[in-house]
Subunit: 329 residues, 2 copies
């Protein structure tokens, strides 16, 4: 590695080219100068292998061309796909991404927000379920899935609509005794609306339904017990189950099959997310697909336009149903 | 968002505290000053909500506390797990991560290396299969899986050892007619050694084996055809197959079952990677598990110690076999 002191500065370029510092600055910023000057500067830049110091540039323009992205982790397929899409959307606009994976640690999430603020990024795109998170007023912020209040725009899937679609699809496939299973935060957050949409559609269709809702951190065994309680001599009380995530749907299918219940012949299962095996192969289950690319594009557009004060406080993007083998169609 | 001009500077803090600029600087950098001075500075910092300008700091110290990480994408479970682990390892050392997902685009990979260099990061951790990639001499770099030559240290799993373990495990489980299936780059890269290790163990054990090796970009159908050619009246020529990735193993299991071949009763399958469904649930198949956390920790240690010139040019970290349902044990 070259010693820091050996990196050429704009002054070195000016000396090498035999021009004024201002001329080098103009050339580097694409401002027209006399042709001979431009050529001399470019030759000097090439000879010295001069690179614009983005830190000095950041000081002057107060733009960093950097957006901080905060998510719980990258190993959950939905988060991985989301960060992948955000990275692509930022790169298309010549922005770079500072990534913070928080592992759901509230203290770390708070620290990251402060760090992002200190590092004077151009914005923060944040997916956090931390109820205590204090957000900054000095850096534009867009939230995914979690509603912080009108001052922070929130982008999410149309979770309510997705819940409705799940109930309607199960009904259309012949199911008449539905269940909804959910594990998650009690906090006001968009994914909670999957339940509301599901209930609303069940009521509209006049279909009976049962809810099994547990708090974050509850072991999966709670669902297994629920399924066992509702299965008599191998026959389940339900013929259709909507699970709040694909991950829960996958576990549910496995539990039911282990109990001798056939999926989808006896019970049809719909998940939520639209994750794919290995990122690009089969769906894990029949599911409501989140529009991950559109969520990413919307977040990046909003952060970079900086018209956040005029932005809607909540934008719900349309979801769709996809068949993945755990329903009849 | 506050106007850039409204952000307080160190000078504002000095004025507010009624102390010299150097005193503020000492307090901010943890250098002892008289108690009454320290208290005055801290009160002024709190009152003005002053934050250290990391850009100004970057200019002075020539340290950015930032490492660039370049990977093809985040949706492949192995890459997702790797970036997740790198992020954690960097955060533990109070470093931040600039993330570049390249989608295997050679032009973009080259651009990202140049960008990372210009942004004067403290190092680059790079996973690229681009044969033409020109790496910088001005920024410390560590490569994962891809050997660029002795000047760039490479960290990877012990792929050779993993290939040996796969052959030995299949043999131990009673297999006597083995196959190896691989899709990948022709380029010198560490995952290629999975084949070499496999062959070496087969030869040592005196077991017959068949290779099916295709270049990147070949459709999966080539493997399906290979499997069909080697299956007669529902009986395959092989009783054990080692696949170069879990993804290929997953597809292979599906193809064989569709042809009426039982897995693992008729054919046992071992993949490579150790990916888990949804990041934390079941393995996709019996597999050779890559030590992702150790790879990440080693890369970060090497980049930050900056003792790269003394580093080994290749470090292969131990892998292990894990049962995942596609072998007898």
């Amino acid at each position: 590695m070259a010693e820091p002191s050996s990196a050429p500065t704009m002054k070195d370029v000016a000396r090498e080219a035999g021009v004024a510092l201002g001329t080098v600055s103009k050339v580097m910023n694409g401002i027209p100068v006399g042709e001979s000057y431009r050529v001399r500067v470019e030759k000097a830049v090439a000879k010295l292998n001069y690179r614009v110091n983005s830190y000095a540039k950041g000081l002057k323009t107060n733009k960093t061309y950097t957006v901080a992205v905060m998510v719980p982790n990258l190993v959950s397929p939905f988060f991985a796909k989301l960060v992948n899409a955000l990275n692509r959307q930022l790169a298309l606009r010549k922005y770079r991404m500072l990534l913070y994976a928080t592992d759901y640690d509230p203290a770390q999430e708070q620290e990251y927000v402060i760090m992002a603020e200190q590092q004077k990024v151009d914005g923060i795109i944040c997916l956090s379920y931390n109820p205590e998170l204090k957000v900054s007023e000095n850096v534009p912020m867009v939230s995914i899935d979690r509603y912080f209040g009108a001052q922070i725009p929130c982008v999410s899937s149309d979770n309510y609509g997705g819940g409705r679609i799940a109930a309607e699809k199960l009904y259309e496939n012949g199911c008449r005794n539905l269940a909804f299973m959910r594990i998650g935060s009690r906090l006001t957050n968009e994914p909670n609306k999957r339940k509301d949409g599901f209930i609303s559609a069940c009521e509209a269709l006049g279909v009976s339904f049962t809810l099994k809702i547990v708090d974050d951190g509850t072991p999966y065994a709670a669902f297994e017990e629920f399924l066992r309680e509702h299965t008599h001599a191998g026959v389940p009380d339900f013929d259709g189950i909507f699970c709040v995530t694909d991950s829960l749907a996958y576990q549910t299918v496995r539990s039911l099959r282990a109990m001798g219940v056939r999926v989808p012949e006896d019970v049809q299962i719909i998940g939520f997310d639209g994750a794919r095996l290995f990122g690009d192969q089969d769906l894990f289950c029949s599911t409501i697909v989140q529009p991950v690319e559109e969520i990413a594009e919307t977040c990046v557009d909003m952060i970079l336009e900086k018209a956040l004060s005029k932005a809607p406080s909540l934008m719900c993007l349309p979801v769709e149903y996809a068949y993945g083998g755990t329903t009849l169609k």
